[in-house]
């Protein structure tokens, strides 16, 4: 499916996403969609927690770091490397207790997340269209 190649070229999805696709088989035909859906839910929850945490009078950087660590982990696991990269910068700002830096990163990570979400959703839609039309998705 060359759309994935394209996404990889732009760095939205790295080879870890291909690993996920290879785990999908007849026994678990929806594996990728399921894992990615979990990623969406989990990330949205984390992003909300981060926004809330950064609004506090006394910012709890440890807590923020813990959330970003989670987000970094899950984005890495599904191959969303641009999200992961922002998380790395985010954690550095946490360590420095730099609120401006953190807020900037939150904005950036939200942006990257919505980009990759759009990419993944259109990828799934496209696959669904192909399947509905009676075709099949070639797996490399």
């Amino acid at each position: 499916m060359d759309l994935v190649q394209l996404q990889r070229q732009f760095g939205f999805l790295d080879e870890q996403f291909t690993q996920l696709q290879e785990l999908q088989d007849e026994n678990n035909p929806d594996f990728v969609v399921e894992v990615v859906s979990l990623f969406f839910e989990d990330s949205e929850r984390l992003l909300n927690e981060l926004a809330r945490a950064l609004e506090q009078q006394n910012i709890d950087y440890k807590r923020i770091d813990a959330h970003v660590h989670q987000l970094k982990g899950s984005s890495s696991s599904i191959g969303a490397q641009r999200v992961q990269k922002v998380c790395v910068a985010f954690r550095n700002y946490c360590e420095e207790q730099n609120v401006e830096g953190c807020l900037k990163c939150l904005q950036q990570v939200r942006h990257e997340y919505s980009l990759v979400k759009t990419k993944l959703e259109s990828l799934f839609q496209l696959e669904q269209q192909i399947l509905t039309a009676g075709g099949s998705i070639p797996m490399e």
Binding site: L23, N28, V35, H69, Q70, G73, S74, S76, S77
Partner: protein, 157 residues
């Protein structure tokens, strides 16, 4: 679904059933839901029976080492053949879980593998010195699980 497809794991001709002669029961511990889902699938693809736990405490409870389960393990055999755990977890780290397992007379022989997204040599050495069988870098791939199997086989005799 567990273990029904022992002979076919998406292309690999060898699987844990062949190597172990039965399906190893693996306890996978990780506080991250996506990672737990992934590691479970990777292990099931290698014909393992998998139980997951979201933190060290739950893992210990499952193993029978919970704080209210003292002495309930006397004379029993371990439920699991392998524990694979994330290092960074809130509450009890993978390292602390490893120590608790190695302190147990019944469970100390169970191989424990530590996973982490961070490649920190002091962390790795600390775990290996405490008796971890292997240290693996996340995100895990199918080839990592195959390597794990090969490594574990070296220690079986």
């Amino acid at each position: 679904m567990d273990g029904d497809y022992g002979g076919s794991c998406g292309g690999c001709s060898e699987d844990m059933t062949v190597e172990f002669g039965y399906e190893p029961h693996v306890l996978a511990v990780d506080d991250n839901l996506i990672d737990r889902t992934l590691v479970e699938k990777l292990l099931k693809n290698s014909s393992c029976k998998v139980t997951t736990a979201e933190n060290g405490l739950r893992a210990l409870e499952f193993l029978g080492l919970g704080s209210d389960q003292r002495n309930s393990l006397e004379g029993t055999v371990s439920k699991v053949n392998l524990v694979i755990t994330d290092y960074c977890m809130p509450g009890m780290t993978g390292y602390e879980l490893l120590k608790k397992i190695k302190e147990s007379s019944v469970l100390k022989e169970v191989p424990v593998v530590i996973m982490s997204s961070e490649n920190i040599p002091t962390r790795i050495n600390q775990c290996l010195e405490e008796g971890a069988q292997m240290f693996m870098l996340k995100p895990l791939k199918q080839s990592d699980v195959k390597q794990l199997k090969r490594h574990l086989m070296k220690y079986r005799s």
